[in-house]
């Protein structure tokens, strides 16, 4: 590889023209012809470079001048050689550095490829992990939902208790009446009054039974006992059911105004949609201050089904508004809220090709728009 150690021939140090010129100059200086010879002859002086004999200088000059001419020639060769050696070394070094650079470049490319693969694997792992987290989230939500259902059940139990109470008492009274009727048939008492009251009792009991039946029906819809699967849903009916259940939880004290427009049926998961409505209505109910109200409106607008749920409660600040859809983000105290309500609502809407929009002003209230595309 290296030509640093090469021994030079005369032609490699001085070109032919330079040699001729040098000989001419020496000749002019000495006043006699000066020539190069390949072999040692009489009246010739050896030309040496780095211990190598490069040739002989033949002159017709006196010995001392002839010698001086040869040494001068050698001196010029020495400096030419110095340059040549340095240039060769420089060439070698540059070439070696370039090769090294190319190798480094190749190594860099290889490592880049390696990191690319690594980052792809990382991406896959992250995606996998995200799936696991999402799944866990849903499981958590599911358990939160079951807890909510439990609370609902408590409300419902209370709700059912009242009609059952009066139905029970009515039936006892009715039993007494039957005794009296039996007696009156012999005692000649006016039966008309008794019979009227008896019918009223039965009528009230029937209405109580109807109320229980309707609550149970609402609960069945809400808890999705009958309809796990895709079905044709009446959004208005689902909204009403959800409002009923919420009322049941709040002892019928919530000021909810329903303005439901005529809507076409929507294909979807009724239990999930009820869940979405419940989550938003529940938030609205919790946001209310004294004298507040909730307005629920539905309508067909631009070919989409729209449900507005608006409250004039406490509202939200902008930085909270930015985060409300984040899973597990909650402003409520620990245990009071899962932080999943709105994120699950959005998931449900997305599953129904819908979207959720939220407008809120701190201290003025919140308006939630649920929009479902039809067709």
């Amino acid at each position: 590889m290296s030509n640093l150690e090469d021994d030079f021939k005369l032609d490699a140090l001085l070109s032919q023209q330079q040699q001729t010129r040098l000989l001419e100059l020496l000749g002019t200086l000495g006043g006699a012809s000066v020539e190069l010879a390949d072999n040692a002859e009489e009246a010739s002086n050896q030309l040496e470079f780095n211990l190598d004999t490069l040739g002989w200088l033949r002159t017709e000059l006196p010995a001392i001048q002839s010698e001086a001419a040869a040494r001068l020639f050698e001196l010029i060769l020495f400096y030419a050689g110095k340059y040549r050696l340095a240039a060769n070394l420089h060439h070698d070094v540059t070439e070696a550095s370039y090769i090294e650079l190319q190798q480094k470049h190749a190594a860099l490319l290889a490592s880049e490829a390696r990191y690319k693969t690594l980052s792809e694997q990382l991406q896959q792992q992250v995606e996998k992990q995200v799936k696991v987290i999402e799944q866990t989230q849903h499981q958590l939500y599911e358990s939160a939902r079951l807890r909510a259902v439990g609370q609902l059940a408590a409300g419902v139990a209370h709700e059912i208790n009242t009609p059952i109470g009066f139905i029970g008492s009515n039936l006892r009274v009715a039993d007494d009446y039957l005794d009296e009727i039996e007696a009156s048939l012999s005692d000649n008492v006016d039966p008309a009054l008794l019979l009227d009251d008896f019918r009223a009792l039965l009528g009230e009991s029937k209405s109580g039974v109807k109320r229980i039946a309707s609550i149970v029906a609402d609960l069945r819809t809400f808890a999705n006992i009958d309809q796990a699967d895709f079905a044709t849903c009446d959004l208005n009916a689902l909204l009403m059911t959800t409002c009923h259940l919420l009322q049941a939880e709040h002892n019928h004290t919530l000021p909810i105004e329903l303005r439901l427009g005529e809507l076409p049926k929507l294909a979807g998961y009724p239990a999930k949609l009820s869940q979405a409505f419940y989550n938003i209505l529940d938030n609205a109910a919790k946001a209310l201050n004294e004298g507040g109200r909730i307005q629920v409106e539905s309508r067909l607008h631009d070919g989409a089904l729209e449900v507005y749920i608006e409250d004039n409660g406490c509202g939200m600040s902008e930085d909270i508004l930015l985060r409300v859809f984040e899973p597990f983000f909650t402003t409520r105290s620990v245990g009071a809220g899962s932080g999943l309500g709105l994120s699950v609502t959005r998931d449900i809407l997305v599953a129904h090709q819908g979207e959720v929009r939220l407008y809120s002003r701190l201290g003025q209230g919140t308006r939630v728009t649920l929009r479902f595309q039809t067709g």
Binding site: S2, E5, E48, N50, L51, L85, L89
Partner: protein
């Protein structure tokens, strides 16, 4: 990696002076140029930058011609010691037949010595030479300086290496320079002899090799 040219019956060996910056490699070579009187001695070629620091290398050719006609040449090179000239060091070091490592005796320079020696080891490996088998002499230069580390300490430190004993020198004063060179010659001879049969084919024995290549001027105090 000696070169033998059969047509000319010429054998060229390469000796490289290696070591940290400013340890006295060029000074060693200049002193050799002054002190040595080998059978043949060429011009000392010094390629330096403006501030006397070696840029490419220095080179001194010496030689002898045996009775049987072998044209034996030794080319003594120095490398540039400054860190940034590593590529040049590697190029000069390639195909070396022997190395003289010039260390700086000053206490403050011991780290630089170690760094330069590691650099020598790694560059030898890069140019395909085995430091364990390469004739190598370690010279601690600048013995004349007051801060020079004590000789016993240095000898002890190097005693377990294949390069013991180390040689000591004050290159500026010309002390120890030829001795180091002779030590290198004596470590170089067996390797060259086994490859080129110096004794058998060319009638150059160990003593002839060392004496004739390192003959000194009578006036010198070596």
């Amino acid at each position: 990696m000696a070169n033998y040219y059969a047509i000319e019956n010429k054998l060229v060996l390469k000796i490289v002076y290696y070591g940290p910056a400013l340890s006295g490699k060029t000074t060693n070579l200049m002193q050799l140029h002054t002190l040595l009187m080998p059978q043949r001695k060429g011009e000392l070629m010094v390629l330096e930058t403006r501030d006397d620091r070696t840029l490419f290398f220095d080179m001194l050719p010496i030689g002898l011609r045996s009775e049987k006609g072998l044209d034996l040449r030794l080319k003594l090179y120095t490398v540039p010691g400054q860190v940034q000239h590593d590529s040049t060091r590697k190029a000069v070091l390639s195909r070396a037949d022997g190395v003289i490592f010039i260390a700086d005796s000053q206490l403050s320079q011991q780290d630089n010595n170690a760094i330069a020696f590691d650099n020598l080891a790694s560059n030898l490996q890069k140019v395909g030479l085995d430091i364990e088998n390469l004739p190598l002499v370690v010279q601690f230069n600048k013995r004349d300086l007051p801060s020079a580390v004590d000789e016993t300490i240095l000898q002890t430190r190097w005693a377990t290496t294949p390069w013991a004993p180390i040689t000591l020198a004050s290159a500026l004063k010309g002390h120890g320079v030829v001795k180091s060179f002779q030590q290198l010659l004596s470590r170089l001879y067996p390797a060259v002899d086994s490859e080129f049969s110096l004794a058998a084919n060319h009638a150059i024995g160990f003593q002839t090799f060392v004496d004739r290549l390192s003959a000194v001027n009578e006036a010198s105090d070596e």
